[in-house]
């Protein structure tokens, strides 16, 4: 091949199969979006008066009814307890299942698969649905909310913990095994110290998410600030709704700041 021919070669970054797959992806995406847009039932008239409705909404929200802050505050404390207790409970359940799911700690494919199945089930069901189920079982109240948060969080925390365990260094484990340590000791003194920073990071991350999630559980009767929101919404007291929303916003911002601070200082 001469130099000139070489220069005129048609350079391409991807193989034909890769290109075909990419184009298939683009076509499938476009087709799905167009199909959805053409078949979805939307009433366009509702869109035209949306700005007026939004204006009306904010008009009703202002001025805020700060007398409602008392009940909101009690509900807020309940929400924080639900989120924190739910996270702790989730971690208690997720740690053993995470150890079962990590392939290097539990060299048994059937058990690994069983643990992964628990994670997928926990994550696939939305926290509101978990809350509905637990309200049906334990009745309305924070107990249902705490259990909903806990069961919803097992999948997320357990999966990340299992990944952290699998990334652990084998050296320390082998040293312990060579010294004659039983399985429990290798877990407590070998695997656990390596996964500990990841564990606290996962716990903090999930706690942050759970505070947001627990704020809406009250809409289905599972306790917390959502109950205050639901009451105000059902009575159409938008000035009280505004108080609850402002409180939720403040708490979410504060927790995010706290989590960032703890992460920078400790982990």
């Amino acid at each position: 091949m001469s130099v000139a021919a070489r220069l005129e070669r048609d350079w391409r970054r991807f193989t034909p199969v890769q290109r075909l797959a990419r184009h298939a992806f683009y076509v499938a995406t476009a087709a799905t979006v167009v199909l959805s847009l053409r078949t979805v039932e939307v009433i366009p008239e509702f869109l035209y008066d949306a700005p007026a409705q939004m204006g009306d909404l904010f008009g009703r929200m202002w001025p805020m009814d700060w007398r409602y802050f008392g009940p909101t505050w009690d509900a807020l404390v309940e929400t924080l307890h639900i989120a924190t207790l739910g996270t702790i409970l989730a971690l208690l359940m997720a740690v053993p299942i995470g150890f079962l799911a990590a392939r290097n700690v539990t060299p048994n494919p059937a058990l690994n698969l069983f643990a992964k199945f628990i994670f997928v089930t926990s994550r696939s069901v939305n926290s509101l649905v978990w809350a509905l189920l637990f309200v049906a079982v334990f009745g309305p109240g924070p107990l249902a909310g705490t259990l909903a948060i806990a069961f919803r969080s097992i999948g997320f925390t357990g999966k990340l913990l299992a990944e952290a365990l699998e990334e652990g260094d084998r050296g320390a484990i082998e040293a312990l095994t060579a010294a004659g340590a039983p399985k429990l000791s290798t877990i407590v003194l070998g695997y656990w110290p390596q996964a500990r920073p990841a564990f606290w990071s996962i716990a903090l991350f999930r706690w942050d998410i759970n505070i947001r999630e627990s704020a809406v559980l009250g809409l289905v009767g599972a306790g917390g600030i959502g109950v205050a929101l639901d009451t105000a919404l059902n009575l159409l007291y938008w000035d009280q709704v505004a108080v609850v929303l402002a409180t939720i916003f403040a708490v979410v911002v504060l927790t995010e700041m706290a989590v960032t601070l703890i992460r920078a200082r400790v982990i």
Binding site: F25, S36, V40, E41, I43, L47, L85, V137, V188, V253
Partner: protein, 265 residues
């Protein structure tokens, strides 16, 4: 934590007991007891709940697929909401994420963009859906708008982080050829971030699908309305049927998005 067996010699111990950590665990236990009593958790309540739970499960089985038309209509609407919300959410997140990336934009642009992202992230999609249901009326449109807001909050942040991690050498090389800003973006930035963008986009589709089955509880369209109505009418066998379909749908979506991620690896 377990201490290692002690030897007679005063030599150093392998695993020192960590007193601050033990104190921390004790405080955590105290908190659990305190918070549990604040929320009124008692053993009787739990035991009574288990009894209810047995009856509840008995009424759920076997799942009832008789009203499958209602079920499939709701699922199709949830899918439409998820697809449309993801599409427009990502379309809007691309510029917002770009504006929020600190390596390509000056601070006076990144700060407002980051503020917008924080605002979109701070409320749960269900709460946003309540506001949109008030503004736009009941139906799929409110759900779509709520999930678009949620997508902007989540995806823009990840987009901005992905752009901040790119290598600036390629950007400089493209710039050195005299390319304009758009060409720098298309030839210098896009090839570096596309695989990660696709990953985030498919992740957001999964997440929107989960939430689109829920916005119906507050009137935002989709299967959630059917689910909540069935729940309030104590049709628990139909509730179970809906839940089975939702979980199957979400698992199918995860398989499809895994395929999409592999294509763009």
């Amino acid at each position: 934590m377990k201490a290692a067996p002690q030897s007679a010699a005063p030599a150093r111990r392998g695993f020192e007991p960590n007193w601050p950590a033990r104190l921390g665990w004790a405080l955590l236990l105290l908190y659990v007891v305190y918070a549990g009593s604040r929320l009124g958790f008692t053993w009787e309540r739990f035991a009574a709940g288990l009894e209810h739970g047995g009856r509840f499960l008995a009424r759920m089985f076997p799942p009832n697929f008789e009203r499958w038309r209602l079920l499939s209509d709701g699922i199709v609407e949830s899918l439409q909401i998820a697809v449309i919300a993801t599409f427009f959410g990502i379309l809007l997140s691309l510029p917002v994420g770009l504006l929020a990336s600190r390596n390509l934009m000056p601070p006076w642009i990144t700060w407002p963009a980051r503020g917008l992202i924080a605002l979109c992230r701070s409320f749960h999609p269900i709460i946003v859906a309540i506001l949109f249901v008030k503004a736009l009326g009941f139906g799929a449109l409110a759900g779509i708008m709520a999930l678009i807001v949620a997508s902007i909050g989540f995806i823009s942040k990840l987009f901005a982080e992905a752009i901040e991690e790119i290598s600036l050498k390629q950007v400089e090389a493209v710039r050195a050829t005299g390319a304009g800003f758009m060409n720098v973006l298309i030839m210098g930035v896009q090839p570096q971030v596309l695989p990660r963008f696709i990953g985030f986009a498919t992740y957001q589709l999964d997440s929107n699908l989960r939430n689109s089955t829920m916005v119906g509880i507050v009137g935002g369209g989709g299967i959630g309305a059917t689910l909540f109505t069935a729940y309030q009418r104590f049709d628990f066998d139909f509730v179970l049927a809906i839940l089975i379909v939702i979980v199957a749908l979400i698992m199918a979506a995860e398989i499809v998005s895994g395929w999409a991620r592999r294509v763009f690896q």
